[in-house]
Amino acid sequence: AALGLVAGPARADALVPNTWDEITSYNNFYEFGTGKDDPRNKAGRLTTDPWAVEIGGLVDRPGSYDLADILKGVSLEERIYRLRCVEAWSMVVPWVGFELADLLNRVGVQPSARYVAFQTLHRPAEMPGQRSAIIDWPYVEGLRLDEAMHPLTIMATGLYGRDLPNQNGAPIRLVVPWKYGFKSIKSVVRITLTADEPPTSWNLYAPREYGFYANVNPDVDHPRWSQATERRIGGGLFAPRQPTLMFNGYADEVAGLYAGMDLARFY
């Protein structure tokens, strides 16, 4: 794919990226604390080099893949995506990354695989939030295989053409733009292909509030707040909320993945 191209070109005009400062100062990354500025203030000590990703499960070539080796086999490109947090705020982020499908094809997905499980680094010495039991550590997430193979799903290693800052999930993270942000797991150390739906952290914490799918959907409210509207970061004190788009604006590309599914049940 060409550099700088955006999925869903009809909406490209609305996708003005947030500033570097906005994207790197307002983060949910509970491994460093629950405050929005904790990740920026406390992620500096995280060692991201060397970094390896353990790829295993139902794959032909399991193993520990050094990040540099992973990056040798892929073409990095910019993807300007909306990011919609389950807390009803949103940003637009110019990620740099590659399609997860490229990596999965390289390691060879076996026919019996139906899901992909991901795991974040667990290193309390460098991740102070992990010293409190805010949720069960390590953070885990998962996708259905067709979601993982979708061309919109990327592994990001940078933003604004620079290396990913630690607070944004360095050195490598998942980005699934049509799902609430918590699905886009950060600082990934393990990818496992499985036959069964893998456990996911927020679903384990509160299954009624956070489903496995977590597709952005203005019609299915979170039990504690409405998902119909969102606040765009950077609007200042007087900006009105804006309506939330089905599948975060990527319905044309991904609605087909969920044909026939009751999205209120599989939330």
Binding site: S25, T34, G236, L237, F238, R241
Partner: protein, 202 residues
């Protein structure tokens, strides 16, 4: 005359009005910070959180005045009304920011109050505080008579725990801070209940 007596002697020389002035001075300061980027890139949420937490803190301080006097003899009774009104002031602005800056729509307000349990609880806590603020003047105390006034002002026994529950309910994950406030309020409430029972018994 022990330490408490000496502290009370010093306290008697302090006028009450600075509690209002210093107590509420952070409100315009917070709005200034919010408007100039000092509260980060999402100033509306930050404002709501800061105002709500400050209101809760000041109200807890006011709620601690009686137990503090019973347990240590230190008497802050002169400042209690000011603490209550300052705390209410923060909560009022907290609610107004939610109404006027965050939601900006009556339809959203209605839906939020009816459908979101933590908003329902928070709104109930706020509404319970309103009659207390309205009857805070000496004239209202005379008009109601001390017995009825005191009974009315026991609404704070419900408002404060509800406020803390609202704080607990809006958090994601097991965060310690909101639970700490709820625990402190329940402890103060238990102390208060014991004092009332002791008074009834004698």
């Amino acid at each position: 005359m022990g330490l408490a007596g000496r502290i009370n002697g010093a306290l008697r020389r302090i006028p009450v009005w600075p509690v209002y002035v210093l107590g509420l001075a952070p409100v315009p300061w917070l709005f200034w910070l919010a408007a100039t980027g000092g509260l980060g890139v999402e100033p509306i949420s930050a404002l709501q959180q800061r105002l709500g937490l400050a209101g809760l803190q000041v109200l807890v301080a006011g709620f601690a005045v009686t137990p503090l006097r019973r347990l240590t003899g230190v008497n802050l009774m002169r400042f209690r009304r000011a603490l209550g009104l300052v705390g209410f002031g923060y909560i009022l602005v907290h609610v107004l920011v939610w109404l006027l800056l965050d939601l900006q729509s009556w339809a959203l307000v209605r839906a939020d109050i009816l459908k979101r349990p933590y908003i329902t609880v928070g709104m109930a806590a706020f509404l319970l505080l309103v009659p207390l603020a309205l009857t805070s003047a000496d004239r209202a105390l005379r008009w109601l008579g001390p017995v009825r006034w005191r009974r009315l002002h026991r609404l704070v026994y419900f408002a404060l725990p509800l406020g803390a529950v609202h704080f607990v309910m809006q958090a994601k994950g097991w965060q310690i801070e909101p639970f700490a406030y709820l625990a402190a309020i329940m402890l103060l409430l238990a102390l208060r209940m014991r004092l009332i029972r002791a008074r009834v018994a004698t």
